[in-house]
Amino acid sequence: MANRNLYRTNQGLRARPGVLIVLLILLGTRSAVWGQTQSAGAGDSLAAWGKIVTVLQHPRCLNCHQLNSPLQGDSRRMHIPHVVRGADSHGVGPMRCGNCHNDSNNLTSRTPGAPEWSLAPVSMLWQGLSSGDLCRMLKDPARNGKRSPEALVEHMSSPLVLWGWNPGPGLEPVPIPHAEFINLMKVWAAGGTACPK
């Protein structure tokens, strides 16, 4: 038995040329992407921002980057029932975010959910900002939770942010695929986090 397993292992990639080809293609693609992010200039950075901002202004993100009360749904209406930020950004009294929202989407009650469901900090108020102002806020460590561009990229894969791509029934996911969004963030960062006026 042991010999047979060793035999299979030793066959490896040489016995599976299809797998080898796919691996080479993936490696090639990855290094092309990495090469692109490494060599991104200010122009690439600005172009990337033009797409990044459409994600940040999408309802899945903007609805909770509000001042005192979240918006709700693709129509961005007032959240029903009425809820407010409270001292810790998680609501007040018997109307706290976690009183209704779970750590994951509830398909029965159709309540969306993700870990740490809450309003974004007041420093990350995005409602009403122009693309340029939003860009400058996003890269400002004083307002973005002390994040470097690299940390910002990492933040875009945290569970609550990821929810935007899997929001549950009745809600449009962020239209740009997440992997593409991360790549855009990397290009934006590598090219100097360029912002429009």
């Binding site: 929202h101 398909l107 009650s109």
Partner: protein
């Protein structure tokens, strides 16, 4: 098997962790004081307490309640609960009664957090508890009366 601690007692339930807590409470444990009103966390009839915080059991899943103290209307106790239920009784708040378990559960959490709520605090705290009979004025008065009793 999922273990839930409800009103101080441990229960083993053969249910999915995604089942709304309300269904487990009513259908499996026969605790029917908590009501189904809308199923969408909008009306407040289903409010219970999880570790002392309000939880809309039609929306909170059983899995999220594991390891926490679940308290239903049948199991409330303590000075705040007594002040609230006494005020509710003395002011004859209840009409049909369907929403009132949820109203009381929410009012207890409100007063636990804020011993002397203003009308605005009551508006924000009780915003999610709907009453089709329109007993809102009496609910507000009862919360103020309970707050005075607790002072």
């Amino acid at each position: 098997m999922i273990t839930l601690n409800v009103n101080g007692e441990s229960h083993q339930l053969d249910v999915s962790p995604e089942m709304p807590l309300l269904w487990a409470i009513r259908d499996k444990l026969n605790l029917t004081g908590t009501k189904f009103g809308c199923g969408h966390a909008m009306c407040g009839a289903c409010v219970v307490h999880l570790d002392g915080e309000a939880a809309r059991s039609c929306s909170i899943m059983v899995g999220e309640a594991v390891g926490k103290r679940i308290t239903t209307i049948e199991g409330i106790s303590g000075p705040v609960a007594e002040a609230v239920t006494h005020a509710w009784q003395s002011l004859d708040v209840v009409q049909c009664g369907y929403c009132q378990s949820g109203q009381i559960m929410s009012a207890i959490v409100l007063l636990n957090e804020n011993k002397n709520p203003t009308d605005e605090d009551i508006n924000l705290g009780m915003e999610g508890n709907i009453c089709r009979c329109g007993t809102y004025l009496r609910i507000r008065r009862a919360i103020h009366q309970a707050a005075k009793a607790l002072a």
